[in-house]
Symmetry: C2
Subunit: 241 residues, 2 copies
């Protein structure tokens, strides 16, 4: 499985994904699930993927092909699309069509070809937008009421976000909340694993402002994880019922 | 949906269930999901249920019928079975057979008839045992390594248990851990709802030692929930990354 989470803030956007892929418990590998596309200052798009690896890789490959094709129209290339809404549509259509292709090949084997994506970005002159694209190609958007979107193993890491995630958080606070949400997921579910990919985009920069790969044993992440464990244990001990 | 959790300790057992049942989001009701059977001092059995209400109700009704039937053998009545293992077997067989019955009626409609149960108890002279019974009737048992069992919406409340649940906890600590695990689930998932049913069984009592229904707005539960929120927010604020 996978855990990817994106948070839309007034100040920018924070995106975090794990990298573990498994086809059965005895076939585990590390694959990047976060893909960035940018023309700095003009547009930045981040896609995070969950679900069937063959579906998501093929979808990303088709999107790249359309970007590289000089004859692509704004209806085909996410780097030419006039709005982030159009970007989400192109990605949704690509995902749905790849999924149907692969599904028809897999009919007999009952293997799941489901996949979903988080798409976040900004075009110069437009607002920051973040979408969750469903396997069928339709999508929903992050809003003030629910500023975070999750795909994959989302349940373990939801309680902390339900409590603290707000659009008016600082980017630093948001990064912390998302890393803690990931930490809970890593602890409770083997199919989600390090390293992590983290991207931060400041509002109106229209480019990746910060990009980090957090490796297993990363001292900052380990320290944060320990402090959080300690805070939880302390809180737990203090409560009298 | 449902959230039920049981924790097996050296000192005894703690069992907690919610009561929300829904057939679609517009058809929500309160049903007891915890059933207790006791002959105080001789045996105590607690069953918690998740999944299709028609399956779990019919299963419990059949188990009750067998208990009330004077001609029942120790192979049929959970109140006569010679061991807790046999109790789990009787319950597993009843669940599997009811599920198959109902499944055959539902074939056309694709409605899920899946259901699972947690069975906990002790017979005089035997040890405390706790089982998770799967829809097919097979089961697994709580052990020192993993002293808690969960059914229903288990993911939201798992991180706290993964961190603190241990067999050598006191019953009070265990109750607190389970109520906090339930609190996280209630906050993040609408299909799990108050009131809650809590049962505590002291080792070798062979009867229910404490039984409580925790209603919505219960002052102790609300206070605990607030203290936990505060502890999480404080911990969150203190962590520097």
């Amino acid at each position: 499985m996978t855990y990817c989470v994106g948070l839309l803030l007034n100040e920018g956007m924070v995106l975090l994904s794990d990298t573990r892929t498994n086809a059965g418990l005895d076939n585990i590998a590390t694959y990047r699930k976060m893909f960035t596309f940018e023309k700095p200052g003009e547009r930045v798009i981040v896609i995070m993927t969950a679900g069937s690896l063959s579906v998501t890789q093929t979808t990303i490959a088709r999107l790249r092909e359309a970007i590289d094709d000089k004859d692509s129209t704004p209806d085909q290339s996410i780097m030419l699309a006039p709005t982030m809404l159009k970007v989400a549509e192109i990605i949704g259509n690509a995902l749905a069509s790849v999924r149907l292709d692969i599904e028809s090949k897999m009919e007999a084997s009952k293997v799941s070809t489901s996949a979903s994506m988080i798409v976040a970005g900004q075009r110069r002159g437009g607002g920051m937008r973040m979408f969750l694209v469903y396997p069928e190609g339709n999508f929903i958007e992050a809003t003030e009421d629910t500023p975070f979107l999750q795909i994959g193993e989302h349940k373990y890491g939801k309680p902390i976000l339900d409590r603290v995630a707000r659009m008016d958080m600082s980017l630093d606070e948001a990064r912390k909340a998302m890393l803690l949400s990931m930490d809970s997921t890593l602890r409770s579910n083997l199919s989600v694993g390090m390293p992590l990919d983290l991207v931060i985009i400041h509002k109106d920069d229209c480019q990746i402002s910060e990009r980090r790969r957090i490796e297993k044993g990363d001292p900052d992440f380990s320290r944060m994880s320990e402090m959080w464990s300690e805070a939880l244990r302390d809180g737990f001990t203090k409560i009298q019922i």
